[in-house]
Symmetry: C2
Subunit: 513 residues, 2 copies
Amino acid sequence: MDRVYIFDTTLRDGEQSPGATMNVEEKIIVARQLEKLGVDAIEAGFPISSEGDFEAVRRIAEEVRGCQIVGLARTRSQDIDRAWEALKAGEDPRLHVFIATSDIHLQHKLQKTREQVFEEMQSAVRYCRKLTANVEFSCEDATRTDLDFLVRMAAGAVAAGARVVNIPDTVGYAVPPEMAEIIGRLLREVPGIENVILSVHCHDDLGLAAANSLAGVLAGARQVECTVNGLGERAGNAALEEIAMALRTRGGQLGLSTGIRTEQLYPASRLVRAVTGIVVPPNKAIVGRNAFAHESGIHQDGVLKNKLTYEIMTPESVGLPATKLVMGKHSGRHAFRERMGELGFELSDEQLETAFRRFKALSDKKKEVFDEDLETLIMDEIIQVPRRYRLDYINVTSGSQVMPTASVQLDIDGYQARNAEFGDGPVDASFKAIAKLTGTKSRLVVFSVNAISGGTDAQGEVRVRIEEDGVEVTGVGAHTDIIVASAKAYVDALNKLDYRKKNPPGQLHQDAP
Amino acid sequence: MDRVYIFDTTLRDGEQSPGATMNVEEKIIVARQLEKLGVDAIEAGFPISSEGDFEAVRRIAEEVRGCQIVGLARTRSQDIDRAWEALKAGEDPRLHVFIATSDIHLQHKLQKTREQVFEEMQSAVRYCRKLTANVEFSCEDATRTDLDFLVRMAAGAVAAGARVVNIPDTVGYAVPPEMAEIIGRLLREVPGIENVILSVHCHDDLGLAAANSLAGVLAGARQVECTVNGLGERAGNAALEEIAMALRTRGGQLGLSTGIRTEQLYPASRLVRAVTGIVVPPNKAIVGRNAFAHESGIHQDGVLKNKLTYEIMTPESVGLPATKLVMGKHSGRHAFRERMGELGFELSDEQLETAFRRFKALSDKKKEVFDEDLETLIMDEIIQVPRRYRLDYINVTSGSQVMPTASVQLDIDGYQARNAEFGDGPVDASFKAIAKLTGTKSRLVVFSVNAISGGTDAQGEVRVRIEEDGVEVTGVGAHTDIIVASAKAYVDALNKLDYRKKNPPGQLHQDAP
């Protein structure tokens, strides 16, 4: 069977989703899980776009082994130098350069001729080759590119020494037969194409990203670029879990396989959800809560009798725990470490020790500690940016006939500050009190509470997305009291906003494939 | 251009999603929006499966005009009689019979031979034909059916008088080339196939439902069965909005079109989300919050300059409001009615009048009334099952250093009852108080708060999914105070559970395609 390489871009294209911003620590923890999942390459960022991206790529290249780390760059030498600077400590790191090739982008965005674009591409690939043989080139907006010109660009990239040539459906415009035609044509007409890996990178604007990726590999592409949970700009990228399971479930007939350890798909999905705060709907293929829902409730009997009738893959094959394991005060260090692994958290010994102590404190307060509790505990207490603000105390009264009131004490840069406010509800009142204490003017974009599954005594997991001057951040907070959790989430978001102001995000993302 | 018929099964297959149960009033309001959306057929339920399904199909057939109403039935005459009883007042209603055709289902589920299944199909279709010429037949698990036998079944159905022959990918197993092959083969080999409509019905287990549907119509099928938001069992059905926009965006090249008024897609999506409580993720194609996200934030300038560079369809074409229209105390009856329509709510004059009064009361309390506020107001106050319980009063105190306590007064069957409880948080405390007052033993499955967009003074929209004896229901509550909203949602869920106990759901759904 032919091997299809999985190139994960959760940390680069996925992070471009509004509100999915991850800090360096969060990116590293996701990268570790991706390595465990068995992806062949991790695109860790776009180093020249921001200090934060540079730092994330550099640290991941240094710390993650077992798969190639990739950095994105435009065709300019400054971009490539900066990317290489971030990547060079890695194990066989890859430089990924791109330039748009469609006439629409040439005219409206680049204001360049095809000839200029061709020249820039070749000199960029050659420049990369001086640094490494592991060079990927992407024709941005390839699926809306004149096919003759696309063949010429791919041929030029191969001639200049690219090892991987990627065909992005940047705007999610293609239908599967077109993708098959493009790949087929390149394979027939590009000299030397047999020595490089042809790749596809699909977006889901018409709901066809997984199918277009599959059409690409069926036609002969051998790398798929994708993201966990289909995260990404607009409607997102092709979902890694769908590609991996389509090839696992139907690979026999299709003659294709991947190196993905599919049992790590569910943990990876949970982790990315926990880190980004972007929800996975219950009806999401493979990793949604209902994806294997005939497992439960009134259908259970029928399915147990005749699994084959409605089940084309088992929950175990994607790493969905067969029984919901609940931790409690008698769970030991070993079980805790194991559960962390199953949830996708690869923690250092020190982090693990801190997490275990917090878990013990929590299990004294509540009988059953669920996966959601553990995830929020880790996100809230272990993986976080340096804190400027900390919530010391909060108290609220509210109800149908009282004026909702909150009193709050914060620790700001080491000093205590107190305030009380009333509001339309207890959350409103506490956010007002906190905003006044911190002197911040952010706008609340999303407020959500999730995942109190298994009973009302679970921790409330609150996510708050706020925006200030065009920068969006997501804060998370956990507590058995939903109002306390809300205040913690808001304070967390304000800390992240503060961090973002000191580490501004890239302005170049809009140009990426 | 060839016309592709859109057969919506949100109310039948979509409703089979865990927790998506809709009551009759909710189904009618969704059916009205589907009619406005321009679908060709609405599958309104599976009449023999429950009293509730029967009633929903009957009322929709009576009240909705402008598209065909469909009722599902197994091959038994009792099923067909019951379906026809529900349908007969409709405008050209359709009987939809199905039987499984794959060997896996024959052996493990039906314990029947192919010959028996063929006979049952033919006699069922003939039985239907005595009632109406508008008969659809589905081969359940068609994509895992021996292709020679599938051809025989389709030929038999055509010979017996079916007008539509449907090919369901019941378990979401197919890849697009297979779907194309099946449809192509049927078109070549089934005598008389040119006189019937060939249909596809795809599930999204491998993320390929939209692509398989498209492969079907490209190969010659002319009906697609799908659901709004891709709702449905497990990973759901093909998403109506993806099919409609793929055919609108690429239909020119593909030579295909639909009758869908795409400007109604976003309102339909909002409505189904509001009614079922099933979230739509931000990166959902077409209707997700980020689907057109280059519209906002730092990318705005670039995209405004060169829309074509990253935009293959406009937000307006799917009915996404270009500017967020905010209602307030000065908004009049006319603007209110119009906004209701844009949100997908087709209300009766009486409902509209009640809703307008509630809106006025709300706009006195808060300056800006957002779409989310209006949706929760309608769902919470206008469309609801008969209430047994009503929340009269609630008060809570909580915080980081107090014991969360709630005092509650309920109206139960017209009598007042009071109670106070403490808990792990204010939600836990109030749910405990309510559970004790109502004497219910339900388990909390999901608790979520959503969509407070635009500021902290928006109403909290709380959704509570509870389970008792295998029956899951979703309750919704809205209030500017999140704790009050939670209590209202819980009481709403308990009312629905009470209704469900008196109107048990169908046990037959597991057999449907």
